[in-house]
């Protein structure tokens, strides 16, 4: 237990901040994923064949390729790509991107592919009459989307989104390969310097279990809130 003391003696405070980092990366990645989903869901539902295949390519490729490979692509390729863009504007120095940004961006792209599928499914299972009724009643576009379609879509999407959240949370453990100090990386460091890997990795597992358990409780509450009236 001494290993978990806060302060200089133990690893308690380091692991605590690492947990906060995991939460921060997961939330950022989830939000980036929503942005991607907001861009690609309309493409997947579009009637235009080219737009449609762009949307399909995104979800198929990302969901068919290992997360680790995507992370390596951005980790090794990210700064190169940004330096290339910068060189067009005449900036030739070395640019290093922050590990937090690369990490949450690569996890965000992965999480976005899953979110896109969830939103597509939810939108498609809303009764067609709802769209027609809203149009016939002459609501403007804002009310049409935010007050009529979105609440119904969220009700259907939230149970699946909580699965996406779990996947995203667990995927953040993979960013430890880029050196960002989250739970996995911190346990690796602690295990290396104390020669007690069994304890630290098991403790990491407990931390992840706690995170998934607590977030499930919260999301279940959200689910009951949004399915009010059904």
């Amino acid at each position: 237990m001494e290993l978990l003391y806060f302060g200089d003696k133990g690893w308690g405070d380091e692991l605590f901040f690492a947990t906060l980092m995991t939460i921060a990366v997961s939330i950022t990645a989830m939000i980036i994923g929503f942005i991607f989903a907001a861009l690609f869901t309309p493409l997947k539902l579009s009637n235009n064949k080219i737009l449609n295949s762009i949307g399909n390519a995104y979800t198929t490729v990302i969901r068919g390729v290992p997360e680790l490979l995507v992370i390596y692509l951005f980790f090794f390729g990210g700064s190169g790509a940004i330096m290339f863009v910068a060189s067009i504007f005449g900036y030739n120095d070395y640019i290093e991107i922050n590990a937090f940004l690369t990490g949450s961006f690569s996890i965000g792209i992965i999480s976005g592919a899953y979110s896109t599928e969830v939103f597509r499914g939810a939108l498609q299972s809303i009764d067609k009459g709802q769209f027609e009724a809203a149009k016939v009643l002459g609501f403007n576009k804002y009310v049409y989307f935010f007050k009529i379609i979105l609440p119904q879509m969220l009700r259907l999407a939230i149970p699946n989104l909580s699965n996406v959240w779990q996947i995203t949370l667990k995927d953040t453990s993979l960013i430890s390969v880029t050196g960002l100090v989250e739970i996995m990386r911190q346990s690796y460091i602690a295990a290396g310097s104390t020669r007690d890997p069994l304890f630290f990795y098991s403790f990491a597992a407990v931390l992840y279990l706690m995170l998934t358990f607590l977030s499930m409780q919260l999301l279940n509450r959200l689910e009951t809130k949004y399915s009010k009236g059904y």
Partner: protein, 220 residues
């Protein structure tokens, strides 16, 4: 880009080996725990649920690290025959993958068994069919049909999961891809080749499952 292709194809064999061995082990583990989950004894039920909860609630990476780095720390284990298995990264990865996919498989199979309508079993019993035959000829085929789509997803998730073997020094497809990227600094090209190989495997799994779904697609 082309010169890296043979190396990556070689590594694909290791990925496929890891995948197939852990899927076979995982299927047996999953079936065992699914049967335990349907047990009426509350304690056994809770234990089986705890197993699947823990393995589904923690990242696969943590599980591999506990087995590969963690278990070697126990002095007692080093003296038993288990150490022969546990010192090999290959077997550690297989143990972690099997236990992980076993947890997901047990959930898939449990829900498949539970969705079988009691009427089928009652019909079987009232026709005087022995319960062993009811299990093998009625419950199993229906359960296979029910669980195929979900199990197909699990195979694809596991295929992607095998990439984590590269973190414990195994040179699977992702491991070799990373090695080539870090020596040549051509991330995009290597990503396209390695990603293409993964996509091709996903595509095949997807279509095999589709074919099986059609074959077992009787009305229930």
């Amino acid at each position: 880009m082309i010169s890296s292709f043979p190396k990556l194809l070689n590594a694909t064999l290791i990925t496929l080996k890891l995948l197939s061995v852990s899927l076979i082990f995982g299927l047996f583990i999953g079936l065992g725990f699914a049967i335990l989950r349907m047990n009426n004894n509350k304690l056994i039920n809770k234990l089986a649920y705890g197993y699947s909860y823990i393995f589904r609630g923690t990242p696969l990476l943590v599980q591999i690290f506990i087995i590969y780095f963690g278990l070697g720390q126990i002095e007692y284990l080093r003296t038993t025959f288990l150490w022969v298995v546990l010192k090999e990264p290959y077997w550690c990865a297989i143990i972690a993958f099997s236990l992980n996919t076993g947890a997901y498989t047990s959930e898939i199979l449990r829900s498949a068994f539970q969705t079988i309508k009691p009427g089928y079993l009652e019909a079987g019993r009232s026709l005087g069919i022995p319960s062993k035959i009811i299990f093998t000829k009625i419950q199993i085929p229906i359960a296979i049909k029910q669980s195929l789509p979900a199990y197909g997803n699990e195979i694809i998730l596991m295929l992607k999961g095998t990439s984590l073997a590269s973190t414990v020094t195994l040179m699977d497809l992702t491991g070799v891809a990373k090695y080539i990227i870090s020596t040549t600094f051509k991330p995009v090209e290597v990503f396209i080749v390695a990603g293409g190989i993964y996509l091709f495997m996903t595509f095949i799994v997807h279509n095999v499952i589709k074919y099986l779904e059609k074959k077992y697609g009787f009305q229930t």
